[in-house]
Symmetry: C2
Subunit: 193 residues, 2 copies
Amino acid sequence: MKLLEDRIRKDGILAEGDVLKVDCFLNHQMDVKLFHEMGMEFKRLFAGKPINKILTIEASGIGIACVVAECFDVPVLFAKKSQSINLSGDVYATKIQSYTHKRVYDVIVSKRFIGPEDHVLIIDDFLANGCALQGLIELVQDAGATVEGIGICIEKGFQEGGKLIRATGIQLESLAIVDRMDPATGEIVFREQ
Amino acid sequence: MKLLEDRIRKDGILAEGDVLKVDCFLNHQMDVKLFHEMGMEFKRLFAGKPINKILTIEASGIGIACVVAECFDVPVLFAKKSQSINLSGDVYATKIQSYTHKRVYDVIVSKRFIGPEDHVLIIDDFLANGCALQGLIELVQDAGATVEGIGICIEKGFQEGGKLIRATGIQLESLAIVDRMDPATGEIVFREQ
């Protein structure tokens, strides 16, 4: 998606350790107009799929998921990273390793909000090693629901998550895939799509 | 806002300890159509204010803030609950006591995204004792920015947060104010507005 690639080139900041900071528009400050354009693109990419719910994970996926959900006219369910006293005990749970925060989270969704009748589009801001996505896929499958597709804003194409998930046969669409980036020169190479 | 009050009566679940669970449509599963209606109501309530940015706090405020931001045509900034390696060190920080999770969070926003030129609408899902809001107000004031108003979905009118914040002179608008609720009978009494 050229609009997103251009924005990454303009406002993304590269740092050592394969860090691509897009906190200016994606995951700290959030450009909701861009989110809407991304939502319309996901709508095009997943046209014809019987999607009735969007699943994401807190925190930075929530904003994008909600704006995308408006384009699909469906509700959002976000997976929570730890047990809250306000959430009933009746949950599907999995563990997700966070690369960014270097820890393992318990991730849960309430059984009241997902079941065999659901056709789910998973939305997240980043795909790197795929741990978060594999956890979300597991939650959907535990619920007996169907993963209709996965929509990602930025995929780090030089990490293995995208390859692993595409190998499962699930339709995975990343609006921008970074195949190479060099913090020394600021160069970002996107995969042709 | 009658639409929200009706929804709380229909789908809200009362529990001991002043718990009002609205995870069916507000803060776990999220009804983005309702969020849009709430956004239009905030737009009406804050008409004429020179709002150029919406501030919220992760996690459950983010979805509402993003949909509301579309109504205002401004970006969202969400305060993060702990230092992330992807966030620059140059941050405004405060501490917020969480009633729900019974702990104290360090809450930060990057100095790059808020400054004296900003006129901020703070959005959150709940107002109870007001600790989260007071932390967010402090962040805005530390940045030299202006709090133009605060928009809340559900205020627990029997806790003191609303009273404390209104006493500061800031325009605080809660779309539903619960003055009394009884988990034994399921009765919810909303304040006339």
